[in-house]
Point group: C2
Chain length 371, copies 2
């Protein structure tokens, strides 16, 4: 709402911090800024210098071409996004409720939403601990736009009186080069609150709905309340756990897998294992969903999913949640998942080779005839 | 036995035809020639021109260095090794029993042994049919020095009154370049007869023992009568089905697999599946054999097994028998082998990529941003 005395841009209601500004996070930041109702602080780390100077060069199926784009604020590290103790002001130092009503109020010294879009590499760092300085009790709602199962649990444990919601995203969006974003698959999100004892259900739902409203206002292709978040997570793993992983392992694109016979002989068996895990976890995934996931990509597709791109750029691949999570749930629930486990072990081997193996050329030429 | 009138080299008793002169077959031909009791005709096909002219350049752990070596006769095709109708001679035209006793007798117009060392690519051609012109009823004994399970069955079916024996070889020997043989792992053979209704058991055994005698006389590291051929075949598949396949799939050498953690998490599970198939097939393979096969290669090994070399040279890989055979037996006997099946399906994908996939560079650079 704007004041009649100050014909400036209406005060943006929401302070949002975003951690993980890769292909997914940068588009999320763009959408939230485009809503007109939020200011986004993006924690950039390695990309800080170039984005601070030149912004991002974005090619987006939803938002078109943007050059030199950046959110309201970029910082190089989490600690640079943290608020100090509350400043005194004419109106006192109490934390203000969401939605400043006049410009006289000081800038809100908290984040209303903390949006986490980092790649899931649990073995590398504990994100819930790392972001704790950004979280204000009760008032910062945590939004996890990430892969995996049960990803909300560490956050509910760490921030027991905060709302935590998570999103399953079908977006296809990747960083390229130093500051380019190639957003090639429409941004379609399902978001759901994770109800828990420390927060009234109605608050969890309300804060989730508000975020959905922002996201829709910002021009995303689709953003809806997930009717069943755990089910949506398993359904995403159907595709991710089969196609993303095998494309990365075999260095093939999706269309090649579809043409090769692997769909029926290898990928659908992976999907059926995931259905079995979901079933043991109380979630029914119907045959028609598996059929859809298996046949949705055409044989002409040249799509190269995120883990394959990670492998080529020698970045860590995200198989630890995409496969590791369902494998761990399977073990807890007594479900046999040997096909998934085999793919998982082979991806661990790929990782091992990248870290410890001889360069492939050297291996081939120098060491042939020894035994 | 030499004639007192003719102080020439004693007539060599045995006429042997060898099909499949690769790393394994060429060393077998060398051994049989070195026995001093056999003449070998090797069917060379694509290598004929160069070997006919220059011979093989062999580096062998058992036989040392030999340049320009070739067997008694080389031919470019099976039909060139086939005998015409029997020639008339002073002594008549009956087929002579094994062992000519004087030089007056015409050269024996049959092969005593047909040794088959081809790589097992059942989907490409039917070897039993292809070699039929070389087989004389009753008198040609068939020796299969090849991988796989139940490989004797098509030969017993096609040649019902002939002896068929097969061998499990631990040799490490590979072709390199145009006419080089690198024989790096000692030639250790177990040979066993496949008793069947069309031949007296005593004949099957006798002909097998004779072949073993020849092979030992020729300087192989070891050649013994297999106490249990079906068991020996399964035991070979323990190593081949785990290490050869995964090295080829992952383009890693044996030592890397040993260092990476894959031995316990991936390779031994494959071995346990093979043990389960063998067990259902009536063959007990003890834990200690699995331990031996899993730990026999040191972590420092740079050994690169045959399927990995095949993959690099874009030659077909032999997984159709190394994995395909036990998978088929498993299906017949109702044993679940999901890990082996996954590796098998992935190797089929490698094959598919070699035949139908875009060149890897083109895939990476040209087709990235399309969906």
């Amino acid at each position: 709402m704007s004041s009649l005395l100050f014909p400036t841009t209406p005060e943006k209601e929401f302070n949002i911090c975003l951690v993980g500004s890769g292909g997914v996070g940068t588009i999320a930041a763009l959408v939230l800024e485009k809503s007109g109702r939020a200011r986004v602080t993006a924690v950039l780390r390695s990309k800080f210098d170039i984005v601070n100077e030149q912004g991002w060069d974005i090619e987006s199926v939803d938002h078109g071409r943007l050059k030199n784009w950046k959110p309201s604020r970029v910082v190089p590290a989490i600690q640079d996004a943290v608020f100090g103790p509350p400043q005194s002001s004419k109106l006192g130092s109490f934390a203000l409720p969401t939605g400043a009503s006049t410009p006289y109020e000081p800038a809100k010294e908290r984040y209303d939403y903390l949006v986490i879009c980092t790649k899931q590499l649990p073995e590398k760092y504990d994100i819930a601990t790392a972001v704790a300085p950004l979280v204000t009790s009760d008032l910062t709602s945590i939004v996890l736009i990430q892969n995996g199962l049960n990803i909300h649990l560490p956050f509910i444990a760490a921030f027991s009186t905060n709302v935590t919601m998570s999103a399953v995203s079908m977006i296809g969006s990747f960083t390229e080069g130093t500051n380019k974003i190639k957003h090639i698959g429409p941004d379609m999100l399902q978001i759901g609150p994770h109800y828990h004892a420390g927060v009234k259900d109605s608050i969890s739902l309300e804060r989730t709905q508000t975020f959905i409203d922002l996201y829709c206002a910002g021009g995303a292709k689709e953003c809806i309340l997930a009717p069943d978040m755990p089910k949506a997570r398993y359904e995403k793993i159907l595709w991710n756990g089969a196609y993303n992983t095998v494309c990365a392992l075999m260095e093939m694109n999706v269309g090649e897998l579809q043409r090769s016979g692997a769909r029926e002989n290898l990928l659908m068996p992976i999907m059926w294992e995931i259905v079995a895990v979901a079933k043991a976890d109380g979630i029914e995934i119907g045959k028609e969903v598996v059929q859809h996931m298996a046949y949705r990509s055409p044989e002409s597709s040249t799509y190269r999913p995120s883990m394959l791109l990670d492998r080529e750029e020698e970045r860590p691949m995200e198989f630890e949640v995409i496969l590791g999570d369902p494998i761990r749930v399977a073990r807890e629930l007594g479900v046999e998942v040997p096909v998934m486990t085999t793919i998982y072990e082979l991806l661990k081997l790929v990782n091992w080779t990248v870290e410890y193996g001889a360069p492939r050329d050297k291996l081939r030429n120098g060491l042939r005839s020894e035994n």
